[in-house]
Assembly symmetry: none
Homo-oligomer: 205 residues x 4
Amino acid sequence: MPTQKVAPDSSRRSETARRAILTAAFDLVGDVGYAKLSIEGIAAAAGVGKQTIYRWWPSKGALLFDAFLALTTDGGQDGQGGALPDTGDLAADLKLVLRAVVDELNDPRYDLPMRALHTEIVHDPALAADYAKRLDGPMRELKKERLRAARRAGQLAEDVDLDVAVDLIFGPILNRWLQRTGPLTHGYADQVVDTALRGLRPHEA
Amino acid sequence: MPTQKVAPDSSRRSETARRAILTAAFDLVGDVGYAKLSIEGIAAAAGVGKQTIYRWWPSKGALLFDAFLALTTDGGQDGQGGALPDTGDLAADLKLVLRAVVDELNDPRYDLPMRALHTEIVHDPALAADYAKRLDGPMRELKKERLRAARRAGQLAEDVDLDVAVDLIFGPILNRWLQRTGPLTHGYADQVVDTALRGLRPHEA
Amino acid sequence: MPTQKVAPDSSRRSETARRAILTAAFDLVGDVGYAKLSIEGIAAAAGVGKQTIYRWWPSKGALLFDAFLALTTDGGQDGQGGALPDTGDLAADLKLVLRAVVDELNDPRYDLPMRALHTEIVHDPALAADYAKRLDGPMRELKKERLRAARRAGQLAEDVDLDVAVDLIFGPILNRWLQRTGPLTHGYADQVVDTALRGLRPHEA
Amino acid sequence: MPTQKVAPDSSRRSETARRAILTAAFDLVGDVGYAKLSIEGIAAAAGVGKQTIYRWWPSKGALLFDAFLALTTDGGQDGQGGALPDTGDLAADLKLVLRAVVDELNDPRYDLPMRALHTEIVHDPALAADYAKRLDGPMRELKKERLRAARRAGQLAEDVDLDVAVDLIFGPILNRWLQRTGPLTHGYADQVVDTALRGLRPHEA
DNA sequence: TTGTAAACGAGACGGTACGTCGTGTCTTTGT
DNA sequence: ACAAAGACACGACGTACCGTCTCGTTTACAA
């Protein structure tokens, strides 16, 4: 099997500059926030000419997205081989995952960059599509895979739409984080999982 | 019944200018989008000096919020007397409401302004608090009221946290709208309601 | 002899406000300089509404002029009874006067206000006319009077134009002060008087 | 003879922009006057960004000065080779020069710009120093050179300070122009020269 | 003595310009 | 050919004042 190497945009391209830019972008947005994040600032922080940024990224959002992708997928491999845990207990596994998500969203190191990225996505359909394909898509597939396994194990209704299920489980956490409508805690994560699995209706008998 | 008079911020304040600004802000954000929305532009469109905006609003977000509040609460009374429908059939009622939400989110007249407002809220905790108190809060209360009625009618489990329930029902729609992870249709709204009410687990016998 | 009282512009006019404004204007221009002098600042410093200034003065220059007139003519009466000294020695008398002028121009308390007033005069012909009539005119008359006396005493050529003579004596000092083309000293004043009186040509035998 | 090339402030600097700015500044001040002269207006008239002005000039006065220098020294070379006329008749030569000065000061094309420049010099010591060195200084040297020649020819007293002499001859014209204390005519110029040369005292026998 | 009309302090208003910052493009000068 | 550097035209920022315009509140004259 041939080594699957991601082709660089150009053989001429300076890998040094690329990494410096991505790192600077990620760090800067964490420091100064989304509103004060500027291409100029990123270039200066990266020790790079502005043109080098404009040459390779079409928009601040795209750069932010790449920065995010590069610096979160780096050490751990969230999206590649990282399947969701499967101990057989769906609720427990989901709680584990959701608690991890909650922790990440509460981590100030990721909070600002993720909010920034989120904003760009909200306003840029092209970026949203890219996001759906390269970040949300793979993640969602992993989640659906876990649910499929649960269904096979008889822990999930046959007629449940897996996408809706994923939305039901992960949507509320994201919203509470974005809009700060309440504290984002492990307890809340557990409640969401339990409620989503069980449903809102009274338990029959 | 005493005259219900809203106290103005200042007796000196020009109501004409205030309304012109709010209208211009709302209209402009719909025209040019969030990224190109400028105080300068709003002032020009409103026929107003910039200082008049800076004098009364602390940030672009606050202005946007007020504009949103003033121009959506105006004709219809969303938050005051507008209780959620209660026909006795919880699922049907929720679907009705959610479909209305979907329609609104799909209305290009509201799409851009709402995205803009959302972005400001995401990045400004103070504004988020204001939003929680003045917009989301009352709405949420109405929703919870409907759920309480359903619970009294035995259509809702006694031990369900109402806030979590609201999040479960309304969160997914908001997310799909923001991130464009899929088409925002009546069908999707129905699916969310059904799944949320019934739960993900297999139906017991 | 009836008291020669200057009629106020209006019986309603507040003398308190008027004096506060003139004082504030003079003091402020000395503090912050001409460029940063603002009507708004004067009003604030005087504890007065802006309109009270606009009501009584047509321009910043006019106000500055009045302030100057009021606060320099106050204690000593420069223009009324203050004839130039006449000891019989024209050169000595002129040197005395010129040295006093030099001292005044070197006094930081008067430097900035006078420069400000000068600037307004240079750019505003109407103000220049007013200045010529109310400040420069009387002063010049006094100077010419002294020169007339000198002429009667045979110390001045019969055919000398007195206005030109005054210009010749006082012009150079003013210029050196304004343009800082050299140090403004008593010695310079003496040189100017001597040279002006004697002329540039070689002394005949 | 080596090419005498003035070093630009920076190799990167756009000569086009520089000239456009200087020209626009000079023209604008002539059109709208000193009070209404704005950097913004100059930039617009020059088809240039404001920053390009702020980048290269520390103040409006400095820009005005450069504009003046560039646009008056351009065609004719006022300061370089332009020695004062020397026909042997000092009075006649001085009258010629002074009449030319009078004409220039009366030329509406130069009146407003010169008043503006004068004002900036009066209020800005740094600019005054620059002016003394680059404009007034060379001019004054030419004048003094002519006077030195006259002295050598026995037409000037040996003990006369040449700076004072220059002040005496040129000061009055400048003052009358600035303060409009009288009409600025050739006749006045002649009178000043005659009086300055002859002195105010009676002609001895 | 009491209106009443002005001048007053305060300050909001529509504007203009300020001086700064960031945009995205372009040019210059090394590698 | 790409990169660092940075000038450029442009546009928006948030601030300071402009001169005009109400607002109540004194204040002094006239009824």
